[in-house]
Symmetry: D2
Subunit: 140 residues, 4 copies
Amino acid sequence: MALAMGREALNEFLDRAFPQIAGQVRVESLDETGLTARLKVDDRHLRPGGTVSGPSMFALADVAIYLAILARIGEVALAVTTNASIDFMRKPEAGRDLLADCRILKLGRMLAVGEVLIRSDGTEEPVARCSMTYAIPPKR
Amino acid sequence: MALAMGREALNEFLDRAFPQIAGQVRVESLDETGLTARLKVDDRHLRPGGTVSGPSMFALADVAIYLAILARIGEVALAVTTNASIDFMRKPEAGRDLLADCRILKLGRMLAVGEVLIRSDGTEEPVARCSMTYAIPPKR
Amino acid sequence: MALAMGREALNEFLDRAFPQIAGQVRVESLDETGLTARLKVDDRHLRPGGTVSGPSMFALADVAIYLAILARIGEVALAVTTNASIDFMRKPEAGRDLLADCRILKLGRMLAVGEVLIRSDGTEEPVARCSMTYAIPPKR
Amino acid sequence: MALAMGREALNEFLDRAFPQIAGQVRVESLDETGLTARLKVDDRHLRPGGTVSGPSMFALADVAIYLAILARIGEVALAVTTNASIDFMRKPEAGRDLLADCRILKLGRMLAVGEVLIRSDGTEEPVARCSMTYAIPPKR
């Protein structure tokens, strides 16, 4: 499937539409099978113990899957998350960014399903996995 | 089951242990069957369209269930979220706080399970439901 | 909201459309806020240790939510499960039926969300909780 | 990680410990990174429309992840499912077996997490994805 938006276009969209996380999340790479996003971890993302908080990982997974869908259907569509399931499996390494490797498993007319594995930059073992469903509004 | 911590103690704990969300989340009420927490919605929680973002609702659910567990087992225990499932069902009303009504369904030796219904203040219909599992570390 | 189908009509539908579980699941009660279904536990539902298997509880939750949706929108619609999340919290009591108490949290034009608490007949503590999303096909 | 049980040992265990599904589910292949299990689809697994039922897919995912854990820790341990999340994404093809490709994402001292993609035999697109958590009882 040809991509409707490339890496630069997705990052520009992110800055424009989501100013609250501008500069925190970046699309690292993108191809027809998947997308990798980076969370530039700073103090805002930490919880007691110095590790990245669950809501920060949830936000990263949400953005990564959302952008992977937009990469396929274009910016015109306003997709909304309807369901998410997340497993927190290991403590992220302190002082490292998080990388989210995302795959779209289904891109239907009304629903899209994506999944993400999150890992600390420079490591292989996943710290979290997440799957999400997005409702895609009908074209006008 | 007698409560180990009351509303004031939980709010003080929140301010001390989670300075990043201090002032944003408050325990409203608490009894032996449940806990209600309020998210004081401001610009940080919004997404395009003026509605509260999914990660903000996730964070509210996470804190509410965490505090409901601590209310029962006390501050000494460090519980961590291992799994969460969330359904976003309706768009929250613009300009209103969110209330999270939480129940603990299981409080075992190793695992606790809680669930939350989130609604806009002043309305009845749930905007989101969430269930979470926490691992409770063994006592030393 | 007025109900489109009553208890008898739902049980007849179950026998007709799902012969594989005919006689195993029954609607016990039904009103505008919820539905209770019974699983008549027999050897087919057991796993090692004499307890009811996870897939049997999943099937009970699935049927209960499905019937609660049909009670509201009528038999004409063919709803399909798109997502389910289930927590197994306690071991069901040996030799007892299971009861599933179901609530519909959202009944939209395209998606419905329901949740279920499952308990052993005669006891109060939930053995499992489950939430499910159903896609409702558009009317022709 | 060396495997504690091979394909034959797992299939023998299945027949012995789970007579209710004996002959329905088989381990097809197994290595250090994953396991593939087959559901021999017959009338018991079908729902109206001739497609495989959701509970049958849930049962297949449950068995596949369970066996992948036992392959690593051996038959001695009695693991129980504590949480499952499943997305049904496409209708399985009529008249074909289902294959479940399973990976263990975490194998901790107390909790294991696995995920599964289910597809119709001979096709590539996933019909369902599932992630599950198992509690592993402490060694005596």
